[in-house]
Symmetry: C2
Subunit: 256 residues, 2 copies
C-alpha cells in the first residue's frame, strides 16, 4: 500500500533580501505560517544559502523540527527573471517533487514575497498539479499587491507586466504601449526593475508617460524607511527624485 502524497506548501518570504534591513518575521508572516515552515523537512528554493538564512530566522520564533543540517534543500533551475517558466520548453521539475511522492511535505520558498509570482517557482507548482500533489499557498507579503493597495490607483483592474526593456528606445516604446493599454482598459500597469536601475526606470516613466498619467512609486515597503507616493507624471518630472540603489521598488501607473 503506498503512503499518501505529501503536500507542496508555498511559503512566503520577507521583502528585505539584498537591502540593509532585516525585517522581523512577525512583521510580515503569520505565526501559523512560521510554525508550518519550522516543521518542514524538505524545501525547494531559488537559493539554498538564503533558504538556510530564512530557516535560522524561523528557528528564533518557532524551533525547527529538525536540525538545519538535516533539512533537505534543493535549488530550482534558474531562468532569467522576466522570462516565463511555464512554457513548453521549460525543464521537467517533477523529480524535485520526489519527496512528496513518498509522503513528505515540501516547502517552496521564493527569494522575496510569495513563491511562483514574479519568480521561477510556477513551473514546480505546475508539476505538482500534474502529479496530483495538493498545493497549499500560505499568506504573506506580496510587494506587487502592497504597492498597488498603497498607490490608490485602480485596484479593480490591473496588470503586472514584469520588467521593461533596458535599452532606451525599446523602453520608451514599451512605456507608451502599456500606457495605451492602461487608457483603453482603465487598467493599472505594474512593473518592477533590478534595484540599481530603479532611478533610470523612474526617469524614463516620468519622461515618456503623458503628463497627467498618475505614477506611483513604492520603495522598500514593509522595510524601515519604506515609502510610497503617487503623483502625475509631470510632477515626477519636475522633481529630481532619487531612489536608493539597494531597495526593491514597484512602479504602477494609470492613464488619466
Amino acid at each position: 500500500m503506498s503512503a499518501p502524497l505529501g503536500r507542496l506548501w508555498l511559503v512566503p518570504n520577507t521583502l528585505d533580501l539584498g537591502t540593509d534591513s532585516e525585517t522581523a518575521l512577525d512583521q510580515v508572516l503569520p505565526r501559523a505560517v512560521i510554525a508550518r515552515a519550522a516543521g518542514l523537512s524538505h524545501w525547494v528554493a531559488e537559493n539554498a544559502k538564503t533558504t538556510r538564512a530564512f530557516l535560522k530566522r524561523v528557528d528564533q520564533v518557532c524551533p525547527l523540527a529538525l536540525p538545519l543540517q538535516a533539512i533537505d534543500i534543493v535549488e530550482l533551475p534558474r531562468p532569467r527573471k522576466g522570462v516565463g517558466t511555464a512554457s513548453a520548453g521549460a525543464p521537467d521539475l517533477q523529480p524535485l517533487l520526489a519527496p512528496a511522492m513518498s509522503g513528505h511535505d515540501i516547502g517552496l520558498l521564493s527569494e522575496a514575497g510569495l513563491p511562483a509570482v514574479a519568480d521561477p517557482g510556477a513551473g514546480l507548482v505546475q508539476s505538482a498539479h500534474a502529479l496530483g500533489i495538493a498545493v497549499e499557498p500560505l499568506s504573506g507579503p506580496s510587494s506587487l499587491l502592497l504597492a498597488l493597495a498603497a498607490s490608490g490607483l485602480n485596484g479593480q483592474s490591473f496588470a503586472f507586466v514584469g520588467y521593461l526593456p533596458v535599452e532606451a528606445t525599446a523602453r520608451a516604446a514599451r512605456i507608451r504601449e502599456l500606457e495605451a493599454l492602461s487608457r483603453r482598459f482603465g487598467q493599472t500597469q505594474i512593473a518592477i526593475e533590478t534595484p540599481y536601475r530603479n532611478g533610470a526606470l523612474l526617469a524614463a516613466l516620468a519622461e515618456h508617460l503623458q503628463p497627467q498619467t498618475r505614477l506611483a512609486v513604492a520603495c522598500g515597503l514593509t522595510l524601515p524607511g519604506g515609502w510610497c507616493r503617487t503623483l502625475p507624471a509631470r510632477q515626477w518630472r519636475e522633481q529630481t527624485a532619487t531612489l536608493p540603489d539597494r531597495m526593491p521598488a514597484v512602479f504602477s501607473f494609470l492613464a488619466g
Copy 2:
C-alpha cells in the same frame, strides 16, 4: 503649531467573510499587524458591523488599546463591486481623513484581504496622497495572489479583470476576448464572481475557453476545506465540478 499628520494604515482582513468558517487571525495575519490594528482608535471600512467583529477577534490576540465602543468607525460610500472608484465622478473622501489631519492614525479595512484591491478603498488612498498623509500597507492575505501562486500559471505576467458579465452572451464574448489577450501577451487572466454564481462562471469558462487553455480554480484558500486545481478547459468540461455556494473562489486561465 500644528500636530504632525496621522498615517493611513492599510489593514488586511481574513478571507472567511460569509463562509461557514472562522480563520484564526494568526493563520493569515502577522503578529505585528494584529498589534497595529489593536492600537488604532479610528477606522474607515466598508461595513462597521464586520469591522467590530474583526476588532473582537483582534482583541483575543492583542488587547485593544481602547474599549470597542470608544473606537471611531466610519463607513465608506459603497460603489457596486466591479466599478472603479478612482474615476473623476467618485465622491470626495477627504472628509473621512479628518482624524489624520489632526494627528490620529487611521486604519482602512476591507471585507476580505488587502484593502483597496478589488474593493472600494482605493478612493480613500488617493485622497490620502492628495492630502500628504503617509500610506502604510500591511502584509496579509490576498486571495488573488494566493490563487495565482497556487495555479502554476504564468506569475511573470498577469491581469486581474474583476467580474465578468452575468448575461450569458456578453459573458461568452468577454471570455473569448480575455483568452485572446492571454494568448497575445502570454498573460494569466484572473477573475472573481459573487460566490453563489461561481458554479455558473466555471461552467461558462469550461464551455467557451479553447480546450487546451489551462484553467485554475482556487476555492476557499486559507479556509478549512480550501482547494485549488489547474486543468485544461476540456477536462473541466468533462467533469461535473460543483462549487460550494458560500465559498469565495478565484478563476485564472492562460491560453496554450
